[in-house]
């Protein structure tokens, strides 16, 4: 019967779908069918403003890998292998794993620490790598550079003293002094 060919909207499950979205991400095909009003609600009629993955996350069909978070630093030793999953709660903002499942978003920056275990596999599936290699805050980068330079100066100083190269050692000591001055700023 041709009437049965009507495709339902994946969001409201009642209207006829008129917008058909397909996105292939990393070889995985994702399809969503939406009716006119739901597509509008979700901003799909703006070709620049939506992401299918976000739509999917909202529908609970995202491809996230789930793993119960283990309560972090709680010191409770259950001793049993069949631990009842205590819902981990972010100590800073009170966000829980269930909240994450519901919203697909985290509560605050500390949540990345709190839910580090369950996030690990998710981030791995989502991204190209698991370590940030890009920009870091300039102040932090500067501090890191100074720390590294300090370490290398100190190593050289030790070596110079060992080798009884006192002239070099004196110069290194002056450089270390200047650098410590900078660190104070």
């Amino acid at each position: 019967m041709p009437g049965s060919n009507i495709i339902q909207c994946d969001v409201c499950q009642s209207n006829e779908a008129e917008v058909f979205l397909t996105q292939i991400v990393g070889g995985k095909m994702q399809k969503v069918n939406l009716c006119k009003s739901c597509s509008k609600d979700r901003g799909v009629d703006d070709p620049t403003g939506f992401a299918l993955t976000e739509l999917l996350a909202g529908l609970g069909t995202s491809t996230e890998t789930e793993k119960p978070a283990v309560a972090h630093g709680s010191g409770e030793s259950s001793g049993e292998t069949t631990t009842v999953v205590t819902a981990a709660k972010c100590p800073v903002c009170g966000f829980t794993q269930a909240d994450f499942k519901k919203t697909g978003r985290l509560g605050c920056s500390e949540c990345y620490q709190t839910f580090t275990e369950s996030l690990g596999s998710l981030l791995k599936a989502m991204h190209k790598g698991t370590h940030h290699t890009g920009k870091m805050p300039v102040a932090l980068a500067r501090r890191k550079e100074i720390t590294e330079r300090m370490k290398s100066l100190q190593d050289n100083l030790q070596k110079a003293v060992r080798d009884e190269d006192y002239e070099n050692a004196a110069s290194l000591r002056d450089q270390i002094r200047r650098l410590s001055g900078q660190m104070g700023n």
Binding site: V19, Q23, V92, R105, L106, G107, S109, K128, G134
Partner: protein, 370 residues
Amino acid sequence: MKFSSLIASPGEWMRTDGPHHDIVISSRVRLARNLRDLPFPGWAKKADRIAILEQLKPQVESLGEMDDAFTEYLQDLSALEKQVLVERHLISREHAAKGIGSAVVMNRQQTLSIMINEEDHLRMQAIRCGFQLKNAYKLANKADNALEDTLEFAYSPQLGYLTACPTNVGTGMRASAMLHLPALVLDENINKVIQAVNKIGLAVRGLYGEGTEAMGNLFQVSNQTTLGEKEEDIINRLGKVIEQIIEHERSARQTLLEKKRTMLVDQIGRAYGILSHAFSMNSKEALNFLSLIRLGVDLGFFPSAFRLPADELFMETQPAHLQKNSQQKLSADERDALRAEIVRGKLRNFPAPDLSKGTSNGHGKEGAKD
């Protein structure tokens, strides 16, 4: 700066020049940043959101780039004003839905727009005309550098910048280009291109109706991942792919001219005829026909002086821009009638397409790369 003067002039990116502007409409880069240990906007209580906003807003406003900025709390903008900003890509749809506790600050040229308390505490977006991803990144990065002088952003050495959504963690950067690809759509090669782009981890977005046609033949290509790759590498990778898509579109245009000329001139001629004579037109229909007029200008069927008026119609026929001068809210039918009227008025000055012309080496080919 007042809202009225903001919308009176088009944004810098809408001037339709810049490298490869015949195919690349605009390049955008946005950076997501958050303050350390404070709840993300979606989780924060109203009082927290307001406190964060009041901490961030003066800092953002004091950026050198924000001299004579347009700055406004979201609750003080009308629904229509918000929609105008969305149509100009100056705020996101998500941000437009916000009220108390959120704000937007944008520079006079409309090249830098900073949303406060969108999904993240800060969303800094730079938008440039044509193919200028690197320049867009420079602009956003400069704002980021200036702000982190006084603000402590959430950052972890392993995961980089921490964002409300794990899809943005790392660089917090989304770089994208809006591409106009009518020839690839007409010769039905667009799906191949989209699939190839998707395969290498980049996202192509566009509205798909029945079939494979996107609205106005406009497609947005962007990076999908933000962790594990440097900003410059992401932008270079994206840029190389966009260069390839530009080449594909150019050769598709050449093929149409040489092998499917009748179909091509028929499409452009019909678009011109309907736009010049219609009395009611929805925005999708308008965009699809305007796309063909734009192609007609690119191929030399219309004098190049008509590029700007044609491009302006892309924006002027959007629902909110259409209504911005109306006193009361228009119904859908009234909008469609007004849209047709505006289009007819502008096309009255257009000469009929000179279909004896036609060269894909017309305008904009020799754009310098950024």
